[in-house]
Symmetry: C2
Subunit: 344 residues, 2 copies
């Protein structure tokens, strides 16, 4: 059977107390002894029973989730999933604190990270804004041994422990590929609606999209992107104006939020674009997919992301490996025909 601390003590020729000192990094163990224990550990293949350990120490995992206040459906879904995770906290031995910050506000995020540094939770998950100040704040957290996980939008590589979210460049490329192939044989103009190009995920989607459009569908002319700030009414206004100005719009890629406004503008247009692709599955886009206003949607599953963030942070706290494949968040592509059916 799986070796226990007792087996380990015997194998290393030391007492249980010493095993405990080594396993839990307590002081007062000579290097020679510690090495003997470590050697015995991988000789007999001892792995700590995390469940028993957590039971004994009454362990609870303290996590902070910092989420921008934003009326868009995806952020609300994310928030709802955090609340659902809080409810499961008793079973999963987690205590999750949900911290709101104003959207696109670097200072506020920095403040939230600083206050997390005060509280010293076991880990922090946050929607990143990619800037030096944030990177600095995060590295202070990590210096304290606090796990740092970005969700949805990433920081520069290496400055966090893990990123939970889709590959946004690939998302942009996929959008271009779908759009380009659905519009074969024709040439015309394609528009882009972004949220804000100062956020890394939007920039990456744009980059991916433009790269594929240029190299593979040069016949399609791409207008420079509009910025709707992820606000429904702004998106609606800008898009309506654009479609009035030019009736020949062939395709549209909406890479940010504000889908309510997007759908409203499209359904009121005299001549809507032939192919429209947007991000995130919400009530607006589901309806629009069904009635053909939108042709395809790229999405990420908020529930998966929150659960993944929790697993990753827990593993970090336990110094336990993660199952990499399980934590890869996939880009979901939805057409009318593979919409997930509502559960009754």
């Amino acid at each position: 059977m799986k070796p226990t601390v007792h087996d380990l003590a015997e194998a290393a020729g030391v007492s249980l107390a010493t095993i405990d000192r080594v396993l839990n990094g307590r002081s007062g163990v000579r290097d020679k002894t510690r090495n003997r224990v470590l050697e015995a550990m991988d000789r007999i293949g001892y792995v700590r029973d995390v469940a028993a350990a957590n039971l004994a120490r009454q362990r609870f995992y303290d996590f902070d989730f910092i989420v921008p206040v934003n009326d868009n459906a995806f952020m609300q879904a994310l928030r709802a999933e955090i609340v659902a995770a809080q409810a499961r906290g008793g079973f999963e031995r987690t205590r999750i604190r949900l911290i709101d910050v104003p959207a696109f506000d670097e200072e506020a995020l920095e403040g939230a990270l600083a206050s997390a540094l005060q509280r010293k939770p076991d880990g922090v998950a946050f929607v990143a804004i990619d800037s030096d100040r944030i990177v600095t704040a995060v590295s202070s957290l990590r210096d304290e041994g606090i796990g740092a996980v970005t969700i949805v939008s990433d920081l520069a590589e290496q400055s966090r422990d893990h990123y939970v979210g889709i590959d946004n460049v690939a998302a942009g490329r996929s959008a271009a590929s779908l759009l380009g192939r659905f519009l074969t044989g024709v040439d015309g103009t394609v528009a882009i609606m972004a949220g804000s190009l100062s956020v890394r995920d939007h920039r990456q989607r744009l980059d991916g999209f433009l790269a594929v459009m240029q190299s593979e569908f040069p016949a399609l002319r791409v207008l420079s992107p509009l910025q709707g700030r992820d606000e429904a009414h702004t998106v609606e206004r800008l898009l309506t104006k654009l479609m009035e100005e030019r009736g020949d719009l062939l395709g549209l890629y909406s890479l940010g939020a504000g889908n309510d406004g997007l759908v409203r503008a499209l359904s009121q247009a005299r001549v809507p674009p032939r192919f429209v692709i947007a991000h995130e599955l919400d009530i607006a886009t589901k309806g629009a997919l069904r009635d053909g206003t939108i042709d395809a949607v790229l999405a990420q599953d908020a529930g998966h992301e929150i659960r993944s963030a929790i697993r990753v942070l827990t593993a970090h706290a336990d110094r336990t490996p993660i199952i990499a494949a399980q934590e890869r968040i996939r880009i979901e592509i939805y057409l009318r025909d593979n919409l997930p059916q509502e559960q009754p």
Copy 2:
């Protein structure tokens, strides 16, 4: 803090021993007393600490996974994921037995299920063949309290505890939708390569595909499906012959396995179809997506499916609820541009 058995005993006004009898369904408790305990349970919101319980009873979950022997890449991936799960068994307190059966062999599957009935594991997961005999065998298992989960291919509803796999009708519909929209403006002929129409998942994919083709793309003529038995060389032979007979093939939907043969036939064809869509992401289809031999791939993640099956079976054994959204297996759509990059 979370109430324990002690709190429960106090709340119900009985002793710990009685609590234990009720919780673990032991005999010798008057109905009146049992009800008092149950009432107290949901009054104070007691939930058993499964980790502690498992520790105390040294519990291991015994699961049987019955998988057809099949040289196709997806089944091999499934098998590999089961092996990986076996390796994690120590941590997850599971003991997984991998049982091979010949592919498409109803009797063999029935025998495997019967032998599981002998062993009395906590749960059984299997790739179903949809027939009365199998349904009967499964219901014997369930009568014994053994959890029964179908993976990849389902049984008739209600005859198993859970199905882990994609919605195959939706998959077929999505294939049609992609194919139809990528081939707008032209009319011509579309071919279908199935594995065997006696398996439920293939039949369902076909149904979904045909439904959408007929209702939305009536201009495209659909040939009656070939059956390649999921064998690479059969698929290659049939497809090569077909393409030689008619050089005007516009589209192809391969809804079964044998992707090696599919790709070989396509890359050797004089005039390959304009749009090809297949199932499952493996070396053959990845390569073919990259070089344009195949345009789109519908896939399911074998790792997710195995992990989901384990979670579901564990929950069944513990009489614990599952997170429904987490266990929904999604249809993944891959284009060249959203291929998951290999981890280094």
